[in-house]
């Protein structure tokens, strides 16, 4: 905390320094420097003047054009404070957004002139999404022409691999064993990179570079595939020109070489080569023929084709020489397909692109809606969005110690992270799929539904396995009929029985073994009527938790894949699902701050600064006190400035424990008893006791005065948030970011307004919202910045 005070003092110092700098000097970026000074004088002087300045520090000698490392460091911090909105303080009159932006640009310009390097890509990161003024975005006023700056976007691991899967099918490369390895000894083809889970969206176009190690890995994949293709050239009609060139080797004529390279590009990359590129590629192939044996030359050439940036990136720029306009149709098809399906375009979309049927918004909409409405086309990106938006899959990363779990009187033990957290995530996934299937009032349902799933993933797989068995049975019956033999379905009856009654079968999954613990965490009574009494009698300690209240689920309903009704006082929406609660908890405790931050950023569109790295952000180690009590340190003045934005939004979730269970009391250490026991035996376990807890909180400074005010608990909070138009708009902003892979700008305002309207007009359809975004100029148009 001492460090935090010093940090804040330093900030105050910086601002003071900033406003009393020297007048502009000749050679400075004139107007920029003036903008910074005007801003600081107008908005900072009152507190940071010469007399009794905030922080009791007066520095008069800071030049407007910093030269020394110290001055530069101070200006950098002033820049940060203005840029992140921490200054002027919230209780002061706030400057107009445009003035702030001018000042920020001015300081940045001066710092750049002083040699400071800015990470421009960092400014495009998802964490900066909420930096854009919400009211300005939804004002209905256009601020410039919409369009995404021309860019490259590294493919996702799935998309990357799909390219090779396509080649495998197209050229019959027999690579299944290395594309879908189980126990293959051969090196598998896998993407050179993965997507680490993050607090923000994981996949923005600006986020990922390709490193040397990754490129080397890609080269290895290309070499494997090129060797396979090399072995198929002779029998592949689609590579007939390459075969001719291969046979001719060094003697290949120019037209043969050009035909071969054009064909290779078309087959492998689906890219036409212009005449100049044909010549250049043909020259390279000829050079290879000169320097090595023909088969090796062809292999090397194919590796070079497979190293084309199209295999690694989405390449998006305006068609032709336009400074702003739609992407070329092939790139547009790739953009649509990768955005919705994480795969290369399907045949219908590709054909539309090749035939020029993506030229109008209506044509694009037709393809987008076809994909969205076809249940046979997998659309992992829809679920992917909701997963990343809510962040609940991180539950599997939060390990719980056995001792901690045991102290909370759960039987989950060490299997918590290994098994149960995965079940939580799968059940929330299933709930989201269910919400997306109905596609009505999606956000409100996600925030307030009383429905839940218990082992929903098992049920889903059960039906898949059942379908496989029935299909096999059907085929066998048809075969028997064809051969005129009687059909004996004994084996199939056995399979069905095993699926239902066998070990690991449906009945086991519903009530057997460890999954009865899952019932308890979800607040569902166990199918075994004696289980609760058995648990209580085995506890050998005073019972500190409440008996589950949801009646035993109906087995048939459960197995049919229907969600169950959670207890109305216990669960309401994704934020009360065990997965979300665990993901937004810590290894040992609830995490009201993280939960509050999620609501502030994802539902209210607010901004939270990262904890300065010098601050040791720790709550007092007082396990005998409740979390709210221990969080008293965040209510001290220097912490509250940020924590007021989070804590009152997160504390209502004290209704649950950090295992994701509804609770009626908070379990803490009984200090007196524990100290007494340990005086006798230092290795004795801690004794726990229960204390009352408080779930009140508040919505403050939301930007919507109707929304602000105290809340009684998590359900009151969710109900109010779910009815807010502003929350809906913030949701739309996040959908935009995920599907466009970048943050919105003021020029995207009309796109967002239209998307929000589409969502409202369709009674909250996610499909309508996504279709609106994907047919907007923000998505379809690319621009070339003037400083190219």
């Amino acid at each position: 905390m001492r460090l935090l005070k010093q940090y804040l003092l330093c900030v105050a110092l910086m601002l003071l320094v900033a406003i009393v700098g020297e007048p502009c000097r000749a050679g400075e970026p004139g107007t920029d420097a003036k903008a910074a000074r005007s801003f600081l004088i107008a908005h900072c002087v009152r507190c940071h003047g010469k007399k009794n300045p905030e922080g009791n520090v007066s520095l008069l000698a800071l030049p407007a054009d910093p030269k020394t490392p110290k001055d530069i460091e101070i200006w950098k911090r002033v820049y940060e404070q203005l840029d992140n909105g921490q200054m002027p303080p919230q209780d002061s009159k706030q400057p107009p957004s445009a003035d702030r932006q001018l000042a920020i640009a001015s300081i940045k310009s001066n710092l750049k002139a002083a040699g400071v390097k800015f990470d421009e890509l960092k400014e495009l990161a998802p964490a900066r999404g909420n930096w854009v003024d919400h009211d300005a975005l939804f004002s209905g006023k256009a601020a410039g022409e919409a369009g995404t700056p021309s860019r490259v976007w590294r493919l996702s691991p799935v998309s990357y691999k799909q390219f090779f899967i396509r080649l495998n099918g197209q050229l019959s490369l027999n690579m299944d064993h290395i594309l879908f390895p189980s126990a293959s000894q051969e090196t598998p083809i896998i993407a050179p990179w993965n997507m680490p889970r993050k607090w923000d969206f994981t996949d923005y176009s600006s986020l990922y570079r390709i490193s040397g190690a990754e490129y080397e890995h890609h080269l290895r994949n290309c070499t494997t595939v090129a060797k396979r293709i090399g072995g198929k050239i002779n029998g592949s009609p689609s590579l007939k020109n390459l075969k001719v060139a291969l046979s001719a080797g060094k003697s290949a004529k120019q037209e043969q070489l050009e035909a071969a390279v054009a064909e290779t590009y078309e087959v492998l990359l689906r890219l036409p080569l212009d005449p100049a590129a044909r010549k250049s590629q043909a020259k390279q192939l000829a050079k290879l023929f000169e320097s090595m044996d023909a088969p090796l030359a062809v292999e090397q050439y194919m590796i070079s084709v497979l190293c084309h940036p199209e295999v690694l990136y989405r390449i998006e720029r305006p068609d032709g020489d336009a400074k702003r306009g739609p992407m070329p149709s092939r790139h547009m098809a790739r953009a649509i397909a990768f955005t919705l399906t994480d795969r290369e375009p399907d045949a219908v979309l590709w054909e539309a692109a090749v035939e020029g049927r993506l030229a109008t918004n209506e044509e694009v909409r037709k393809q987008v809606e076809r994909i969205l409405n076809d249940p046979a086309i997998p659309k992992p990106r829809l679920l992917g969005f909701v997963q990343e938006y809510f962040g609940y899959p991180a539950a599997v990363d939060i390990a719980k110690c056995t001792a901690t779990v045991d102290e909370l009187q759960s039987e989950a033990g060490c299997g918590f992270q290994m098994g149960f957290a995965g079940e939580f995530v799968a059940d929330t996934d299933r709930l989201i799929e269910w919400v997306l299937e109905s596609d009505k009032d999606v956000l409100r349902t996600l925030l307030t539904t009383r429905k839940s799933f218990m082992r929903g993933n098992f049920v889903k797989n059960y039906h898949k396995r059942m379908a496989t068995i029935l299909e096999r049975k059907k085929q066998s019956a048809e075969r028997a009929a064809k051969e005129g033999k009687p059909f004996d379905d004994k084996n199939f009856q056995q399979d069905l029985k095993k699926l239902l009654d066998g070990p690991g079968g449906a009945k086991d999954a519903f009530q057997g073994g460890p999954y009865s613990i899952l019932h308890a965490i979800y607040g569902i009574q166990s199918p075994d009527p004696k289980r609760w009494d058995h648990f209580v009698s085995n506890l050998r300690r005073p019972l500190l938790i409440a008996k589950p209240r949801v009646p035993v689920l109906d087995f048939d309903d459960w197995l049919s894949g229907k969600p169950y009704d959670a207890h109305p006082e216990e669960r309401m929406g994704i934020l009360t699902q065990s997965s979300w609660l665990v993901a937004h908890g810590s290894n040992f405790d609830n995490h009201a701050i993280r939960r509050g931050r999620w609501i502030r950023e994802r539902l209210l569109g607010g901004r939270i600064l990262e904890v300065p790295i010098t601050v040791n952000a720790m709550l007092p180690d007082e396990p005998h006190r409740g979390l709210r009590d221990r969080m008293r340190v965040t209510r001290e003045d220097y912490c509250w400035k940020c924590h007021q934005k989070m804590d009152p939004l997160g504390l209502p979730f004290e209704q649950f424990d950090h295992l994701g269970r509804y609770r009626t009391a908070e379990i803490v250490v009984d200090k007196e008893k524990t100290d007494k026991d340990r005086a006798k035996n230092s290795q004795s376990r801690r004794t726990m006791t229960s204390i009352p807890f408080d779930t009140t909180g508040a919505i403050t400074d939301s930007g919507d005065p109707k929304l602000d005010g105290p809340v009684k608990g998590p359900f009151d909070l969710m109900e109010r948030l779910s009815q807010s138009e502003r929350v809906e708009q913030v949701f739309v902003r996040h959908v935009f970011r995920y599907f466009l892979g970048r943050n919105e700008t003021l020029a995207d305002g009309p796109t967002l307004v239209a998307a929000h309207k589409a969502y409202r007009d369709s009674n909250g359809s996610m499909k309508a919202l996504v279709a609106s975004l994907l047919t907007s100029e923000s998505f379809l148009y690319r621009t070339v910045p003037s400083h190219k």
Partner: protein, 471 residues
């Protein structure tokens, strides 16, 4: 001021590498020339970081027998005559070159792996590189064909992982987790008679054209992504050129290790990676190696040691498949540490057997044996962070001693019963101080490594450790 703040800009570094005679490469060369002119023998300083998960305990792990864990005083105790604990027993033959270091700390807790924090000393989001790591800083100062050879060890893990090392903020360095791929990068295909490196270099030079063309079509900050792409290709091309020469003159073939048929268990992978690292060092392909076992987080299983899950074992779980005397809390982890120490000792022996100047390669090498999460899986703020150092880097480091800054003993309850761990005193140096010391030892002195600009702690908290440096 942190002198590496200027150094750690990726492009600056890569440009240095790509130019060959660029400033960063040129400087060590000049130093070498100057040293030769002054009649001093020169040899590159080599550092191997062997980093593993789940903590390195003091009692039974790093504390010499008979030496108490707690003391309010700074202690420097000669190791001669002391028995090393089981975990690091394999380093006994190197006792005179050994330093066991206790009492360093960080300000933050480390749960389930320290990731980038461990080698950078920067607290914060452990999954993101927030600054340069010490191995990268040493590699920048002392680059080889492979500036930093990063090798990973995991049970069924990814092919590559970003987990511990970085050229700077947001610039993580990949760890190659498959020995056969690492081998191929360094030495070429097993048994190859054709110079694949030359072929690969020509190919890389050609494919840059496509990337350059696309780069010309992209404007704005994202063009930097393609700059990085080009730099990656150019760097690979340059490396393949150097390897091509070494292939031609037989160096690679002479030093390439023989990989085992089977490399699936954690122990097999760890052994293979250590062999590869030793061979790369002896061949002069690199001067800095980082082997990350557990990839910064938790090992799923220590296959080859036992069947227990890594998380449970880090909580003191007992495994019944190990030998009887190790069926105790943390017994399997001790066994794994001992195994890693044996592999590390093999590496050191190989270097000791290789002549260099008037001595051996080991004379200019240092092994840093450490966990990425201090002394246990959930190490608290200020937990004692033990290090085992083997080597004196050309005599710049004082060795043969147990050095401990003031440490308190603290019982920590858990699955394995009460265990005693050390807590460093608040006034002790942080782990960055060791890294600053290493920079001094390799001839790149600086005041402090990755000291936060706003830190109010005394300079000595981050400064070089006088107890370790020979004056």
């Amino acid at each position: 001021m942190n002198p590496f703040q200027e150094m750690n800009h990726r492009r600056t570094f890569l440009k240095g590498v790509s130019l060959g005679a660029g400033s960063l490469l040129f400087e060590p060369l000049l130093q070498k020339v100057a040293a030769q002119a002054a009649g001093r023998p020169t040899a590159p300083k080599r550092v191997i970081f062997l980093v593993f998960d789940n903590g390195l305990r003091e009692i039974g792990g790093t504390l010499p027998e008979g030496v108490p864990l707690a003391s309010n005083e700074l202690r420097q105790i000669p190791l001669r005559g002391l028995n090393l604990p089981f975990d690091i027993e394999p380093f006994a033959p190197f006792r005179d070159r050994l330093t066991i270091l206790h009492g360093l700390r960080t300000n933050n807790a480390v749960d389930h792996g320290g990731y980038f924090t461990a080698l950078s000393g920067i607290a914060g989001n452990k999954h993101s590189a927030l600054g340069i790591s010490i191995d990268a800083a040493i590699a920048q100062a002392n680059p080889g064909v492979f500036p930093l050879l990063g090798l990973g060890v995991a049970h069924g893990g990814p092919t590559t992982a970003y987990c511990s090392s970085a050229w700077g903020a947001g610039r993580p360095i990949a760890m190659q987790c498959r020995p056969e791929m690492a081998y191929e990068s360094l030495f070429g295909s097993v048994g190859a008679t054709r110079n694949d490196f030359a072929t690969r270099r020509n190919l890389l030079d050609f494919v840059t054209n496509d990337v350059r063309r696309v780069r010309g079509e992209i404007a704005g900050p994202e063009r930097e992504l393609l700059d990085a792409h080009l730099e990656a290709i150019e760097s690979l091309s340059r490396r393949n050129g150097q390897l091509s020469e070494q292939f031609q003159n037989g160096t690679l073939n002479r030093h390439a290790p023989r990989l085992p048929e089977r490399m699936t268990s954690v122990t097999e992978i760890a052994a293979a990676q250590c062999d590869i690292a030793a061979a790369a060092l002896v061949a002069g392909l690199t001067n800095v190696v980082t082997i990350s076992s557990g990839l910064g987080g938790l090992m799923a299983r220590y296959s080859g040691i036992c069947n227990g899950d890594g998380h449970g074992l880090g909580h003191g779980g007992v495994d019944q498949t190990v030998e009887v005397n190790l069926r105790r809390p943390f017994g399997p982890l001790s066994l794994y540490h001992n195994y890693l120490a044996r592999q590390a000792a093999r590496m050191l022996t190989r270097l000791q057997e290789t002549r260099e100047g008037s001595g051996t390669m080991l004379d200019n090498t240092l092994l840093v044996f450490m966990s990425d999460s201090a002394n246990q899986q959930h190490s608290w703020p200020g937990a004692n962070w033990p290090f085992v150092l083997v080597g004196n880097l050309g005599g710049t480091l004082r060795t043969g001693q147990f050095v401990s800054y003031p440490v308190s003993a603290q019982a920590a309850g858990g699955d394995g019963g009460n265990q005693t761990f050390g807590t460093a005193h608040r006034t002790n140096p942080v782990i960055n101080a060791l890294y600053t010391t290493l920079l001094h030892a390799i001839g790149r002195p600086c005041d402090a490594f990755n000291r936060p600009a706003s830190s109010s702690e005394a300079p000595r908290i981050y400064g070089p450790l006088p107890e370790l440096l020979n004056s």
